[in-house]
Amino acid sequence: MLAFILRRLLQSVMVMLAVALIAFVMFRFVGDPVNSMLPENASTKDRQELRTQLGLDAPVMTQFWIFVTGTAQGKFGISYRNKRPVNDLIAERLPATLELVFVAALFALIVGVPMGVYSALNRHGIVSNVLQVVSLIGISVPTFVTGILLILVFSVWLNWLPSFGRGDVVKIGWWTTGFITISGLKSLVLPAVMLGLFQVTLIMRLVRSEMLEVLRSDFIRFARARGLTDRAVHFGHAFRNTLMPVITIVGLQLGSMFAFAIITETVFQWPGMGLLFIQAVNFADIPVMSAYLILVAFVFVLINMIVDLLYFAVDPRLSVTGGST
């Protein structure tokens, strides 16, 4: 067990280092931040001075070393554009993104799972077929198009929901929440639907196919032979066995929702981390970009590790092979 965890930890560190390296190499190609930091009429000398002071003309290896050691200590420096510590900027934006991802994931589960179960139990029903077609559309339409359509229908035509922003937020310690104001809740609806829509269709199709598989297996047949009611067979046995892979996938999808929130946040001007990142890219704001990439990589690594450990806990076969190698 301990060896397994240690090995996973070591692998995680390697992944983080690789991400740091890729991120660092990428910054060579995003453009020169100095040009956007100084006014148009700044002289060539001013530009060169600033470049030297920011350490942008130091040898590549030196820059990478400073970057890695700084990152390891959680020091990301000051944003070139906003002139504030990057850690503060991230801490300020994190609640917005996390609340959005949480609501979107909840929406995906609450809508996706029942739809999947229903269409597995009534394979040939009209509603199931309609759901299948609709889910196909949901998977194939780009998310920014759904976002713009949602705004057009619910904000411009019907005037029901706000088209941008987070509404009024309440500060609780360093956390800001939109959960306890009416405008905050209204503002959450459209972005959460946009971010969650793809997941709804994914979960629905996953639940459906898993459940169909389980329903075909022998123990369900035996359960029926024992004379159990449909209800007990479907929900007591089939559904429970369907859930294991679903939980795994949903866990992994959480990470990608966190990362893909960029598009949703851009369309709805949601003041989260994705929006911060997009602006940083436009401005070649290297400290903010690197902090964001490292954080997203960290979230992915963390979720993967938790999922692996869960497997380890759930599946006794893993511990045997894990111990023998």
Binding site: F29, V30, G31, D32, P33, N35, S36, M37, L38, P39, E40, N41, A42, S43, T44, K45, D46, R47, L50, Q53, L54, G77, I78, S79, Y80, R81, N82, K83, R84, P85, L89, E92, I148, I151, L152, S155, V156, N159, P162, S163, F164, G165, R166, V169, T266, V267, F268, Q269, P271, L275, L276, I278, Q279, N282, F283, A284
Partner: protein
């Protein structure tokens, strides 16, 4: 019963205060958030423009872009290297502190500090000296005829407040130092910062003790930046906003067709142009032994082959203004006679090219941004096609602005697009010193192609110290005329400024793209 009536009263009060606030509230949106509240931390024009509502300079531009007194009531030139400013009496900062000479000295010294990012916006000033409580002298290192223009961009902060919060120096990224003034403010302007959530909402309320007589009737400004064009327009159409800028060109018709909103437009100061590589050879060409662009006939041919009327009609939807010289009409040094684009002439251009020794054309690199100017990439594609008919094969690279300007400023481009608004000086000297002067430490910062013309250099140097406005303007016009004859840089057009407002909001487009909210009236 008693409880109920209290609730009733509270409800009525809430409703009343709600309607009063909404009646005079301007809800506005820009495509990017302001960078920070500190006016000396950043020179982005949207940040400087917005902060003008909170902070004020010694002199400011009015709606017609003429310099008028602001925090300085009057000024005199004691000698060319010493300007004396008499400050306005009775002005108070938002926190109630009186405005005095100490504040001006501290603010100017803060702006020109070696670590200040805005120091190049006040290049001539060496030191600010207090004469008495209401008089300040600015000492210059050389004569500066456009000192006042520069000063319109340098805002005055409260010394006492800066000292109290350890903000006497601007934020310094290099030392990793934060600054209280980045998120807080204390100015003298018509509006007071109430709250700010970056990228979400910045709220200003009216300053009841403003020294000037208000021409606006606003009580509150809610600024919410929206990066996505489609969302910004949708929020205006759904009634969530009163004023958005910029409005995308392709949505103009849609906005005008909708009820209760309309577009307001005007030409921007910014002139879009094409610069040339004047080096020994081209970076991206089949001709390796010489540089065709150094021949004025080639440059003239390239200019003549561009059909700007077609671009104005098809790419800019009739909203742009074709340019003959490198500055827009409101800029001193502009001359209407020079500002005529000769009609496009493909045959003439072909003849010129043959005379120059390139009857079969040549290949050349062509660099454009794709997210900086209005329809920048589309314009470059159109020009590439027009040059192709001249047998000049342009290899177009269109990329994001930070990459584009990095390449251009490093001298890596053959022909490149650049836009110049002459801000903050609002003077042709800006074009002459930055774009046309031979590159050196102080001048030619945006002349990476290495254009060099002794006559223009001489005139530019003379302009930089000539205090007689008439003579000075004549020299600038002359220099711009020489640049035009020499096709040093191709002038294309002034791009349009497109703002959109809901009915009842009365405001005008100002060519420098800085909404001056102290002129805005809401009529319902």
């Amino acid at each position: 019963m008693k409880k109920l009536s209290i609730i009733g009263i509270v409800l009525i009060a809430v409703c009343l205060s709600g309607t009063v606030a909404i009646g005079k509230t301007l809800r506005m949106s820009d495509s990017t958030d302001i960078a920070a509240m500190d006016p000396h931390s950043m020179t982005e024009s949207n940040t400087i423009g917005f902060l003008h509502n909170v902070y004020e300079p010694l002199v400011r531009y009015n709606e017609l872009l003429q310099v008028e007194p602001a925090l300085a009531a009057s000024w005199e030139v004691i000698d060319p290297l010493r300007w004396r400013f008499h400050l306005r009496e009775g002005v108070k900062f938002h926190n109630g502190n009186p405005f005095t000479a100490d504040d001006v000295v501290a603010s100017i010294m803060r702006a020109i500090d070696p670590t200040s990012p805005v120091k190049s916006n006040l290049p001539a000033v060496v030191v600010a000296e207090k004469v008495d409580d209401m008089t300040v002298d600015l000492v210059l290192k050389g004569t500066d005829p456009i000192l006042l223009n520069y000063l319109t961009n340098i805002y005055i902060l409260d010394k006492e407040w800066m000292t109290e919060h350890d903000a006497l120096m601007p934020a310094d990224v290099r030392k990793g130092k934060e600054n209280y003034a980045v998120s807080n403010s204390n100015g003298t302007g018509p509006f007071i910062l109430e709250s700010r959530q970056p990228d979400a909402k910045t709220i200003l309320v009216v300053n009841p003790n403003w020294w000037d007589t208000p021409k606006h009737n606003l009580t509150r400004i809610e600024f919410s930046p929206i990066g996505s064009d489609a969302t910004r327009v949708a929020a205006l159409l759904s009634g969530e906003l009163d004023f958005v800028f910029p409005a995308p060109l392709q949505d103009i018709e849609r906005i005008n067709r909708a009820d209760g909103v309309s577009v307001i437009t005007g030409p921007e100061l910014r002139t879009i142009m094409l610069g040339f590589n004047y080096g020994d050879k081209l970076h991206n060409s089949n001709i390796q032994d010489r540089n065709p662009l150094t021949d004025v006939k080639v440059r003239r041919a390239l200019n003549q082959a561009i059909n700007m009327d077609l671009i104005a009609e098809k790419v800019m939807r009739g909203m742009s203004r074709n340019a003959g010289i490198l500055v827009a009409p409101p800029v001193p040094g502009y001359d209407a006679q020079l500002d005529v684009r000769s009609p496009s002439d493909l045959e003439g251009a072909k003849k010129l090219l043959a005379e120059a020794g390139y009857p079969d054309g040549f290949e050349v690199g062509f660099d454009c941004p794709n997210d900086r100017y209005v329809n920048d990439e589309e314009i470059c594609q159109a020009i590439t096609a027009m040059w192709a008919r001249l047998e000049v094969k342009a290899h177009l690279t269109a990329q994001t602005k930070s990459k584009h300007f990095e390449k251009v400023l490093a001298g890596g481009a053959d022909i490149y697009m650049v836009g110049w608004a002459t801000l903050p000086m609002l003077d042709s000297y800006s074009v002459l010193s930055a774009l046309l002067h031979t590159p050196g430490d102080r001048m030619g910062g945006w002349n990476p192609g290495g254009y060099s013309n002794a006559e223009i250099d001489k005139l530019t140097d003379a302009v930089s110290s000539e205090l007689d406005q008439e003579k000075r303007t004549a020299m600038m016009t002359e220099a711009l005329g020489i640049a035009k004859d020499d096709v040093a840089i191709i002038a294309l057009h002034q791009q349009p400024l497109v703002w959109a407002v809901r009915d009842g909001v009365n405001m005008k487009v100002t060519p420098d793209n800085k909404p001056r909210l102290w002129y805005v009236n809401i009529t319902d």
